[in-house]
Amino acid sequence: MKMSVLKIIEVPLALELPVGPQHPALHEPVLLRAYADGEEIIKVEINTGYNHRGIEKLCEKNSFYRDIFIVTRVCGICNQVHANCYVRAVEHILGMEISNRAKYLRVLAMELERLHSHMLISAVMAENIGFENLFMNIMLDRERIMKAKEILTGNRVLSDYMMVGGVRRDVDDVKKEKIKDLLLKTEERIKYYRRVFEEDPTIIKRLVDVGTVSTSNAVKYSLVGPVARASGVRIDSRASDKYDAYSEIPFNVITRSEGDSWARMMVRWDETLESINMALYVLNHLPSDANPVPDEKKLPRKIPAGEAYTRVEAQRGELTYYVMSDGKSSNPYRVKIRTPSFNNIISSGFMYVGHTIADLPVVLTSLDPCVSCMERVTVIDLDKNVSYKLFFKDLAKGV
């Protein structure tokens, strides 16, 4: 059957495509061009590359230590995993071992980040399906996590916490108690929100069976992170690579078999609870074997020749860094960053097919693009040959 194209919908979303470096880095406005037959989407083209900031090249031009702060700014939401991945690659080249306390503190910082990121995307999902009340409530509780991050690292978002050889500030008992208190308060709320997502009829109607990905497609298209885990693929570099202190901290890898948008959100909520347990475990079992803060004045100036490839489980999936040093200059020879959204968003075109236009934002949000992505949407109606602009949210409610 030949389907005729009646409407072209251009969705210029400011989507996060934290493709690192040479990719725009974050928040790349991605253009999804969906071709719809009536209400049904028959094809989606994904265009990228609106704000490429040239980070990989920038890294080659700056020294190893300055790069720590540059790669932190690849993505604001997952800044600590970026820094951790890069710093561990440099440590592998240097052959450096860090203290156990530093390893535990790194895990704590990364899990706090996972908490706030998952809460954020769930809030955005609630807003996109028209549930503004839930959005405001989740965002209010998320402020507690931000406070905990501020206590631990000294800044709310971009924490600049990782350093070659350890972390940049220690916690004392007062701070530990404060963070524990905030986490325990948030845990209750998270259990409640998880139940809302599990049981609320509005959410179930909008999310269940939308954007289903089968297990084999998830592997074939290199999908990673919660998107793959919701389709039953057990990928978690925390469990397989056991970097930092993940070998000692107990946690479960959450997988679901449904593979739809709802399963992806549920995987995120379950991971949030796991993260809280891990953070509390770290706070209760923090070893005190050595000072975790290296003296930055005495770090090695010269980095030997070598190459390292590290993987980290970021909030959105597997993040990898490749760092190469030629041993001659103080700058890295090559830094390659592959961010999870790069795979998830660019390869996501097949998921939209067969759904209605109103489902498009739902599928997209369930892949965890970024928040402020709610830009406008252009609908070009070929029948009338006019184009009009809509707010992304209105589109979600059904044009």
Binding site: T72, E296, K297
Partner: protein, 133 residues
Amino acid sequence: MRRPKLLKLTLENLVSKPATVQYPYQSTVIEPDFRGRHYADLSKCTGCSLCSIECPADTIKMTPIPQDYEVPKSNPRRLYPLINYGRCVFCYRCITVCPFNAYVTTNEYRLADTAKNDSSELSLSTLKKTVKG
């Protein structure tokens, strides 16, 4: 299917105290070690320009100290680090690499202004002016 108590939550919120902080009439709690505005204490600074080399954003410029200030002998080149707060990313790398711990840190975060500002006034206020004559 059991409905969650979102309605109850809404009603609770209606009668409870607002969650909003009445900012800017009432200030919020900022951690004392929040990374805020920092500047060089010129009585300790030797003008070695290490912070300027290490700054990831190239925001620190070594600038000559104006002639009418008394400069300690440890700073023979009469240079001081001028921080352009507009470009500064507050990573505090300059503070951790400074060999003389010459930086003063604060948790001041309200830096909004109609023009880009820098640290010249704050840094120079740590020095005495030469008495003329």
